[in-house]
């Protein structure tokens, strides 16, 4: 028989037993729910976190495509570069290691600064690789490699460096590459690789995606201590495509030197008198730094600046596109430092400006073919229309002068073009009106941005009545038409537009537009839609400029039986000449300050018998088109036809 208290105890025991069991059930239930929550509901979040732990993605940059000229000569390629990497761990005395390395090879200060920034910003304290420098020469590598035992904590890695073997010669065309800072925009993951370059200018920029190829990814499996357990290529790289340009580097190099030379003489920098003078010359940019140019007084002068473009009139391929002064794109591959950059940027001659496409100049007399064509097409004048030039045209209160002080007398259109008579064009311009002239200019490609493979082209200005009204809110005046008729005033063109205009005149059938890429198939162009007879007449007139007795460029014939050039000179006034100055007598071009000298222009084509190439030459503040620009064009053609 059980005692009463015994019964009571049993009752308590079972009650408490049940209570505790319930408690246990609740606890185990909540733990199960927690697991369900972690593993089933929030699974994806934790899976991602686990992946982030496990893998480390690295971008593998593809080999950038090359840029070649029409003969497959290299304009831009890749060279093996060596980087120095520190295998860092907590126990190292970093300063001491850097000091020891500096004793063996020279590391530039910027790299060391960058290295310390990286060291400071590293994400954790696990052993890892930190880049010391990317600019290691073959010599440095062997110096360090010999002392391998002294530096167990460093490693070399190979990388590709962009090189431009042609240097300054085609800098404006190839452009350059530079480091891309926000890589995570291209790829989802945060990239730990810092050596990826993208095109920043020129063809490098325009064809960046083709040249760049496809990035690959390497996936490293890393332990919690940062050791790489496994490394595999996650996505393959695809090397970039090569770009074959239409340039002919032989011609390009020749053109650049010819342009820089102008009518000056070459002299070696070794000459001690020259050395003296060079000390005071800043911002001197030369294609070849062993020689400088001197004028007739044996004073060192800056090389001529300007542009030369040679274009194939059948397919628009540009064989040579020179802008002087230029810059050497290689300096951008070596991690351009600030000093170098400010030096280039602040250079008074603006070497970064691509004068061929972004420089705008008044076309001067080179526009006269367009004005003549506008007159002929409108039917207002014909081949026989004659005007009388007495050296100036009175208009309102002021006189509009011809370049020939004493006038050309009575002449027809062909003679007017041959002798570049301004008065004839004043008379003609007033008759046709600015709108017709502007229309013809646009037809010939002025005031237009072409689909050329370099982005920063200028549009230039082709003024007409509407344009003036829109810009200034003032009506067009007839005096402005007179100025426009001789390519002065508002009108502005780029050298590329001038060569395109010349190509269209020389081609006669199609509206050729320029390209820098070698075209392998026949490109189709729109019809030019100008009367063939008129074009033939204008071309005849351009021939007269060279071969005619009174031609403005008669001194610069190519002079062979088969090949002769045709063209038009242009001398562009940069500052207005006042009536007073004119009476005193004009100051000779050479005696004016450089900035106030005339631009010398020449446009032309060759051979006359069967036009093939068009050219435009612009020499900034070079003087007269006939004595400075025309001989350059002749020499270029001579070189081109290997005469």
């Amino acid at each position: 028989m059980k005692h009463k208290s015994q019964k009571l105890l049993e009752q308590t025991l079972s009650r408490r037993f049940i209570f505790l069991s319930l408690l246990k059930g609740v606890v185990i239930g909540s733990i199960s729910w927690r697991l369900f929550d972690l593993q089933m509901i929030e699974n994806q979040k934790y899976e991602k976190l686990s992946d982030d732990n496990q893998f480390n993605y690295h971008i593998i940059p593809p080999e950038r495509g090359r840029i070649l000229d029409r003969q497959m000569r290299l304009l831009a390629g890749n060279m093996d570069g060596f980087s120095l990497v520190l295998i860092w761990n907590k126990e190292q005395d970093v300063d001491q290691i850097i000091r020891r390395i500096s004793n063996v090879i020279k590391i530039n200060k910027r790299d060391i600064k960058n290295f310390y920034v990286q060291l400071k910003n590293k994400r954790n304290n696990f052993p890892q690789e930190i880049l010391i420098t990317k600019n290691l020469s073959q010599k440095d590598v062997s110096k360090l490699a010999v002392r391998n035992i002294e530096f167990p904590e460093i490693r070399f890695s190979m990388s590709k460096k962009r090189v431009y073997p042609q240097g300054i010669i085609a800098g404006h065309i190839t452009g350059y590459t530079g480091a891309f800072s926000k890589l995570d925009k291209i790829h989802g993951e945060t990239a730990t690789f810092s050596g990826i370059n993208i095109g920043k200018r020129g063809l490098e920029k325009f064809f960046d995606t083709q040249l760049r190829g496809k990035f690959g990814r390497k996936r490293n499996e890393v332990t919690s201590r940062g050791h790489i357990v496994d490394s595999q290529v996650y996505e393959d790289t695809k090397p970039g495509k090569d770009i074959q340009t239409s340039l002919d580097m032989r011609l390009q190099a020749f053109a650049l030197e010819r342009l820089e030379k102008g009518n000056y003489d070459l002299i070696s920098v070794q000459n001690y008198k020259i050395k003296e003078q060079l000390k005071n010359k800043h911002d001197l940019t030369l294609a070849n730094d062993k020689y400088v140019y001197i004028d007739k007084n044996r004073k060192v002068v800056y090389p001529q600046t300007g542009s030369i473009i040679v274009m194939d009139i059948e397919n628009g391929e540009i064989l040579c596109c020179v802008s002087s002064p230029g810059f050497n794109p290689n300096i951008f591959s070596n991690d351009l430092d600030l000093d170098q950059w400010t030096k280039i940027k602040n250079n008074s001659k603006a070497p970064l400006l691509n004068r061929s496409m972004s420089g705008v100049y008044p076309p001067g007399s080179t526009i006269k073919m367009a004005v003549a064509l506008a007159g002929l097409e409108s039917g207002i004048i014909d081949y026989k229309t004659k005007f009388f030039c007495e050296g100036f045209k009175e208009f309102g209160t002021s006189n509009f002068h011809c370049w020939a002080k004493n006038g050309h007398g009575n002449l027809n259109l062909m003679q007017a073009i041959e002798q570049s008579c301004d008065v004839y064009f004043y008379e003609m311009g007033t008759k046709i009106g600015i709108d017709r002239i502007a229309l013809m200019m646009k037809k010939l490609g002025l005031g237009e941005i072409y689909d050329i493979e370099i982005d920063d082209s200028s549009k230039g200005v082709v003024p007409n009545i509407e344009w003036k009204l829109k810009r200034d809110g003032i009506n067009w005046t007839l005096g402005e038409t007179l100025n426009a008729s001789i390519g002065q005033g508002y009108i502005l063109t780029t050298p590329l537009q001038l060569v395109t205009m010349t190509s269209r005149i020389a081609n006669g059938k199609y509206s050729i537009s320029p390209t820098l890429i070698k075209t392998h198939s026949n490109k189709s162009f729109k019809n030019l839609n100008i009367n063939q007879e008129h074009l033939k007449f204008v071309r005849r007139s351009m021939e007269e400029v060279i071969v005619g007795e009174k031609g403005t460029a008669k001194n610069y014939k190519i002079g062979t039986k088969n090949i002769e050039m045709a063209g038009k000179t242009g001398t562009v006034q940069v500052v207005r000449i006042s009536e007073l100055e004119r009476e005193k007598g004009l100051i000779k071009n050479e005696d004016r300050p450089w900035k106030k000298r005339d631009h010398a222009l020449f446009v032309g084509y060759a051979p006359v018998s069967k036009p093939k190439y068009a050219i435009s030459v612009v020499v900034e503040h070079g003087g007269s088109g006939s004595t400075v620009a025309a001989p350059i064009a002749r020499d270029i053609f001579k070189n081109l036809f290997r005469l």
């Binding site: 005692h3 606890v27 733990i31 089933m40 686990s50 499996e221």
Partner: protein
Amino acid sequence: MNFKQNKFATDSLLKIFFLKALKINWLIVFCTIFLGIIGVGALYSAAGGSWDPWAKKHLIRFLSGLILMFIIIFLPTKLFYKFSFLFFITCLIFLIFVKFFGVGNIQRWISFGVINFQPSELMKLGLILVLAKYFDNLSRIQLDKLFPYIIPFILIFLPGFIVISQPDLGTGLTIILLGLAILFYVGISLKFVLFCFFVLICSIPLIWQQLYEYQKNRILVFLNPEIDSLGSGYQIIQSKIAIGSGGTFGKGYLLGSQSRLNYLPEKHTDFIFTLISEEFGFIGSMSIILIFSVLIISIFKVSFKIESFFSKILVFGIGFLFFLYLTLNIGMVCGLLPVVGAPLPLISYGGTSLFTVLIAIGIVLNINLRENRI
């Protein structure tokens, strides 16, 4: 009759043994063996697919522990009753000894030549034994009063605080919670329980001051693991990542990236459950909990059926010890409880806790066998 009895008595020992063996609670045995095998497998994976350094040792210990367990099954139950106080005192002496002559900078281990062991683990068993004996000796009426509970309180808190001061918060808390649960079970006044609860809450600031710096940190980090994501919060964060990334079916045996790449801390001891969760997913972790639940329920069933008060409390205590092990460990690894250091019985690497658990199961099976016979 005599003859018969004699015959029965001389009936081959083997037959008696088999008859007894049949009556063993085989469910508990199977659960134990199963968990042990899971432990060996998990440790094999923790070493990156290698028997060394943990899996082989664990297997050997487990097998020898099993033998010990079977020996205990066939010992007379009286023995536990007789030696319970002695066992408790021995454990206590060891604890104090460890406090002064312990191995390592954290004084948990005692060293006998090649064998190192943690007296604090054995203390859990010692406490259950001594409490069971104490309450068994009390008259039923006395249990309703408060006075007789004073000695048990000393028996609980003395070793509890020694262990906490080792410092080992996890084991210490386990000891205290275990003791309190037994007091509650035998019928301590509910009013008193509520009073104690109140006092405990009020004394939290006092306790906080007594805690070691690292223990404070652990609790702070538990409340917000992001405080120190590379330091003490790292364990909780990485453990949660491992469990969560396991998903439904897990990453596959030996394929857990968190454990393989060493992101998991203590993956072979306290955090072994994380490894299983990562490699076998929700299915795997629930299976572990299920097997443990079956084991715990079976033990409680034994306790419920037994008449003897001593055995009842003893088995209940062991069942509750299992429950505490399980919840503290899993609660800790999945971020529900602070990281206090509690092994997962039978699966975690560690000899003393393995032997303690196997001895405890042996005692349960022993009592189950005797009581069945009665």
